[in-house]
């Protein structure tokens, strides 16, 4: 009922992915992967989780670092913190929507700790990094007993606080494909407070424009906090695809997006308000993404 000191646990700090997988196999459901800890430790203080073993992956070098490759695009290690993403010129340039997201997450002192892998694996519906990653077509790379497998971030979530990362797997990194020319994404987050808050609604829009710089060649819209998991809004995408993106069309796409979400009424906002806000934020995110494309091609 109330927050307490941490419960006791056994601590393990493997130095390699293989070592971590070995420990996961050994302790099964009694173990939890411990990265940034900002969600896990709090859940433990509330006694919502009481793992007997914490597998601290922070010593695993393979899970760290941001790199860019002209063929494969961006590779972000699961242990990369929100603060590292925020301060990375590479992220700001190559994945501005992700940068939008990390800048408005939690607080600076939490962003230093929270990792992108943790944000995805915690799988809360309002996870801020999910919509931009989904919109950019990012993939999660998982390591397990049978080797590596790759899952679209879009397909990574099962339900509230439940991801498809199996208990014997760990998320090693995120791969964001190289973004085509004349494309960009944007993420907008609506909060009750101006900082230190969870998203009431989060919308990421990715657009790729045709050579005319007006017609929408490709589009992905991802919504956060309005369904049991972060979701795509395919109907809204269809509204835009192949058409010239005007404010009116963006508004129409917003209206469609508002009908596909299935939010709940909770302490933070009502269902109706959340749907309305999906409309507004979708419209704004699409327009923002387009204007980013136009600005970058002007240069």
């Amino acid at each position: 009922m109330f927050i307490r000191r941490l419960p006791k646990f056994e601590h393990h700090a493997p130095a390699s992915v293989a070592g971590a997988l070995g420990l996961l196999k050994k302790y099964g459901n009694k173990a939890r992967v411990f990265a940034g800890g900002t969600d896990l430790l709090l859940a433990m203080k509330k006694r919502a989780l009481t793992p007997e073993h914490l597998i601290n992956v922070k010593n695993i070098k393979a899970l760290k670092g941001i790199s860019y490759n002209d063929k494969k695009g961006l590779k972000i290690g699961a242990l990369v913190t929100c603060a590292e993403l925020e301060e990375s010129p590479l992220i700001k340039e190559k994945a501005p929507a992700l940068w939008d997201a990390v800048c408005v997450m939690a607080s600076p002192q939490v962003r230093t700790l929270a990792t992108i892998g943790g944000n995805l694996c915690s799988a809360v519906p309002s996870a801020d990094t999910a919509p931009p990653l989904i919109a950019m077509g990012a993939q999660a790379v998982l390591s397990g007993p049978k080797g590596e497998r790759t899952v679209l971030v879009e397909k990574l979530f099962k339900g509230p606080a439940e991801s498809k990362v199996a208990r014997n797997e760990i998320l090693t990194h995120i791969q964001i494909p190289k973004q085509p020319e004349r494309s960009c994404a944007a993420y907008l987050k609506l909060m009750r407070r101006a900082a230190m808050d969870l998203a009431l609604v989060g919308v990421a829009a990715y657009v790729c424009l045709d050579k005319d710089n007006r017609t929408c060649k490709e589009v992905r819209i991802a919504l956060g906090a309005v369904a049991p998991t972060p979701i795509r809004a395919p109907m809204a995408e269809q509204t835009l695809a192949g058409n010239e993106i005007t404010e009116a069309l963006a508004e129409q796409a917003g209206k469609v997006a508002g009908t596909v979400c299935s939010p709940i009424t909770d302490l933070r906002a009502s269902l109706g308000y959340r749907c309305d806000m999906v409309e507004v934020l979708t419209k704004r995110a699409v327009i923002e993404a387009c204007s980013r494309v136009k600005n970058s091609t002007k240069r």
Binding site: I3, R5, L6, P7, K8, F9, E10, H11, G37, T38, L41, L42, K45, L54, N56, K58, A83, E87, A106, S107, P108, Q109, V110, T112, L113, A194, A195, M196
Partner: protein, 157 residues
Amino acid sequence: MRKVEITLRVNGEEYDLEIEPHRTLVEVLRETLGFTGTKKSCNEGECGACTVIMDGKPVASCLVLALDAHGKEILTIEGLAQGENLHPLQVAFVRQGGIQCGFCTPGMIMSAKALLEKNPKPTAMDVRKAISGNLCRCTGYQQIVDAVITAAQEIAK
């Protein structure tokens, strides 16, 4: 539970400790080492009172396992002044009304210190963003923002 041996470097001094794994950094700082300048209030990373600087970055020390601070440079409010000479941030907080009850002050100053490390010439908005994880109920934040900007100017001199 098996205890672990760690070395904490706090305010430039090394401490060899044997701790239980479930001890948070704020607990070890306050209860084991007696650095009670770092405050604890919500214990869930939502108030900023326990903010310290770890390897140059602000962290909520209630969300850090002490064993993860092993070998890292920790700076707490107690390590800011040089003898009797207060850090320019401390001077400005005192002079400009950035302090009232003082309970949020250590965390607030540490957040401000971390900001000035990476941005020596912050705007008022930069300061507000940097301290947005530190709740204060007394001051209304205005005089804290003013104090941080004054301190930045003082340091630049």
